[in-house]
């Protein structure tokens, strides 16, 4: 494992990626963030910690995940599509990498309790899983709107031994769950670690989460070279907070010939105002401890985001993505709910793989780019798509969207 980010695009020692990032936090938490930063850097420099992490990832989470050439899909769309199968990891998404890394670090730091925020429940389930694995107490904060929408995931967390606390304040969704987790942490920081769910928040979280997730790209890059003898022309990923995207982009940052394509949740369409395309349509601001792009009104109040994909439904974005967008190393474009759902159906039918709706955003965006990729890179154009999670959790949405669930001939 490489233990540092790509130098040219990495944060400075105060956690700034160019203009973005940093640490805009209550003084009460600064000591804890300093402690975390120190412990994490020390751990990553300790071959024993790195070996433990890799062993747990391999034996428990099932990494390296496969790189799969989706041949039927490729023929249909006219370009070579490679899928990084993070959906095959334990718990069904890339998020297990981040929580196992942070929980292993928690144990090393001698803390006995973890807290986490969750939107749809995926990071909550992953955190509860890691807490069970390491024998840590676990409390998950979840917006009250989301606990009602995602009762199955609430039950999964509870079965795994976690306490799920519904959050009623503000808009009662993910951003408010983060606020509540931070409030818990201010009061519990001496024995509690905050397992932050994405590559956002105050320094060192954006860098730390990236490093725990960067195996996605490190693996995919060598798999591409081994299996296909070349690098891809483009790498595509969905971007909510951006952990899976930064996880796959990092290995390619220093390959200037590889395009990095981030796809943001466009919801009903950016022009409707009902979206979560933070980089595309937000403005620079400070949210949850970092300067980044934020969906906000003219007074700097956070605006509620919208996406069919709960995992992307966040009004901020990881600061390194904001930086990569500003310096032009990666591009970020919105993908609507409709485009994502069409891609979900397409992949299901052509490859027998039901993707998470989050990941379907990446696929939809990549497929939309195919004509341009063919033009820029010729008929052999190859695009690597991060299939960050599986779609089982999204069947309720799919049933509603596509009108599924009744057998042939059954009365409506």
């Amino acid at each position: 494992m490489t233990t540092t980010g790509s130098g040219a695009f990495d944060a400075d020692e105060r956690g700034f990626f160019g203009d973005f990032g940093g640490r805009f936090m209550p003084e009460a938490l600064i000591a804890a963030l300093d402690e975390l930063d120190g412990a994490w850097r020390e751990a990553m420099a300790d071959p024993g910690f790195v070996a433990d992490f890799e062993k747990i990832l391999a034996e428990y989470a099932g990494t390296p995940s496969r790189l799969y050439h989706a041949e039927r899909l490729s023929r249909q769309v006219g370009a070579k599509v490679l899928l990084k199968r993070e959906d095959l990891n334990h718990t069904g998404a890339h998020k297990i990498r981040n929580v196992l890394g942070q929980a292993l670090l928690t144990r090393r730091m001698g803390k006995t309790r973890v807290i986490a925020e969750t939107g749809a429940g995926q990071h909550g389930v992953a955190s509860a899983t890691a807490a069970a694995y390491f024998g840590l107490d676990c409390t998950v904060y979840m917006g009250a709107v989301d606990t009602r929408r995602q009762a199955l995931n609430v039950a999964r967390m509870q079965l795994l031994g976690a306490t799920v606390v519904p959050v009623d304040s503000g808009s009662a969704t993910l951003k408010d769950a983060i606020n509540e987790a931070l409030r818990d942490w201010v009061a519990s920081v001496d024995h509690t670690a905050y397992l932050f769910g994405t590559a956002a928040g105050p320094h060192p979280f954006p860098s730390m989460v990236r490093e725990f997730c960067r195996g996605i790209g490190d693996e995919a890059r060598s798999q591409c070279l081994e299996q296909h003898g070349r690098l891809p022309d483009a790498v595509a990923a969905c971007v909510g907070g951006g952990s899976n995207a930064i996880g796959i982009f990092t290995a390619f940052l220093d390959d200037p010939e590889v395009e990095l394509l981030g796809f943001e949740p466009g919801g009903d369409g950016v022009e409707t105002g009902r979206h979560a395309a933070t980089i595309h349509a937000g403005a620079s601001g400070v949210l949850h401890g970092a300067r980044t792009f934020v969906l906000q009104d003219e007074d700097g109040q956070t605006v509620e985001s919208h996406s069919i994909s709960a995992g992307l439904d966040y009004p901020g974005v990881g600061p390194q993505h904001a930086h990569l967008a500003r310096v032009g190393r990666a591009s970020y474009q919105p993908v609507t709910d409709t485009e994502a759902m069409e891609a979900m159906a397409l992949l299901s039918r052509t490859e027998g793989i039901i993707p998470a709706i989050e990941s379907a955003h990446a696929l939809a965006g990549a497929l939309r780019e195919v004509p341009a990729l063919l033009e820029r890179h010729g008929p052999e154009a190859t695009v690597l798509v991060n299939l960050s999670g599986r779609g089982d959790k999204d069947m309720g949405t799919a049933i509603e969207w596509f009108g599924l669930g009744r057998a042939e001939g059954e009365a409506p």
């Binding site: 940093g22 640490r23 209550p26 409030r183 201010v186 009061a187 949850h288």
Partner: protein, 270 residues
């Protein structure tokens, strides 16, 4: 009058200063002006006006609900400045307590200018520490506005020294590891924190978070220069929701109780 003058006057009277907080726009803009005036008339030495924000991570349920109510009622940043102007007109030094994003969005220098012309004397910034505050430090220094940063029980001595070296007006010591909210007993973390802070600076030190009654105010007045009260005031107004007159009367009584408390400091440590 500056906050420093108010603290110095209290010190010369052998007591602590009472600092009262209320969010602008709660229960509505005019109601908050009326409430702040009652707090001034009933004995607050310094007024702290909260700028309501959608994501207040340092606030407990009481202030969260009040801020949300203010936002739902349409309170804008310019309304906050209006409330500042009305309150500062009483002659009591008035500062704004605000999370950082609304200031950054308004424009740091523009906010400093408009705050100063409204008669506001500075900012308390709960999620901005001096090491991330270059733009605010410059804007505040240009207008000699107070820069009140927080120190916490978890702050190292090095951080307390760094933080207090950037403060002007007074230093805000958070009595507990936790968020805002009235508590019935005073934290045992506050006094050692004040002692550590006073080793680093000659500035007055105010203690906030969790203070709700006169006895607590007297206890804190025994070792600190200021007693900062927020949630307890908000709670009184919430308890009389729908009857502002009764709320204001209760607010006046609580202010008087706290003002009496800071005038009978327990012990002689200060």
């Amino acid at each position: 009058m500056t906050t420093r003058t108010a603290f110095d006057r209290a010190r010369s009277e052998g007591r602590a200063a009472l600092v009262g907080y209320l969010p602008a726009g709660f229960p509505d803009v005019d109601g908050s002006v009326a409430a702040l005036r009652v707090m001034v008339d009933s004995g607050c030495d310094v007024i702290e006006i909260g700028l309501p924000y959608s994501d207040p991570v340092m606030d407990g349920p009481t202030i969260q609900a009040a801020a949300q109510r203010a936002l739902d009622g349409g309170t804008r940043t310019r309304d906050v400045l209006r409330v500042v102007e009305a309150t500062a007109a009483t002659g009591v030094p008035t500062v704004v307590m605000t999370y950082w994003n609304p200031v950054e969005r308004y424009g740091v220098d523009r906010f400093a200018a408009d705050l100063a012309s409204a008669g506001g004397v500075g900012l308390i910034t709960p999620d901005l520490t001096p090491d991330s505050a270059d733009e605010w430090l410059a804007a505040a220094d240009a207008r000699e506005l107070d820069k009140v940063f927080l120190v916490a029980p978890s702050s190292t001595d090095e951080r307390i020294a760094m933080t207090t070296s950037h403060c002007r007006g007074f230093v805000y010591a958070t009595a507990v590891m936790g968020v805002t909210g009235a508590r019935s007993t005073t934290s045992e973390l506050a006094q050692p924190l004040v002692a550590r802070t006073k080793k680093a600076t000659d500035l007055p030190v105010g203690v906030g978070l969790g203070v709700s009654n006169g006895d607590q105010a007297a206890e804190i007045a025994g070792y600190a220069d200021g007693v900062i009260v927020g949630s307890a005031f908000v709670r009184v107004l919430q308890q009389h929701e729908g009857d502002l007159g009764a709320g204001l009367r209760a607010l006046g009584s609580l202010t008087e109780e706290l003002a009496a408390g800071v005038r009978r400091p327990v012990g002689t440590a200060r």
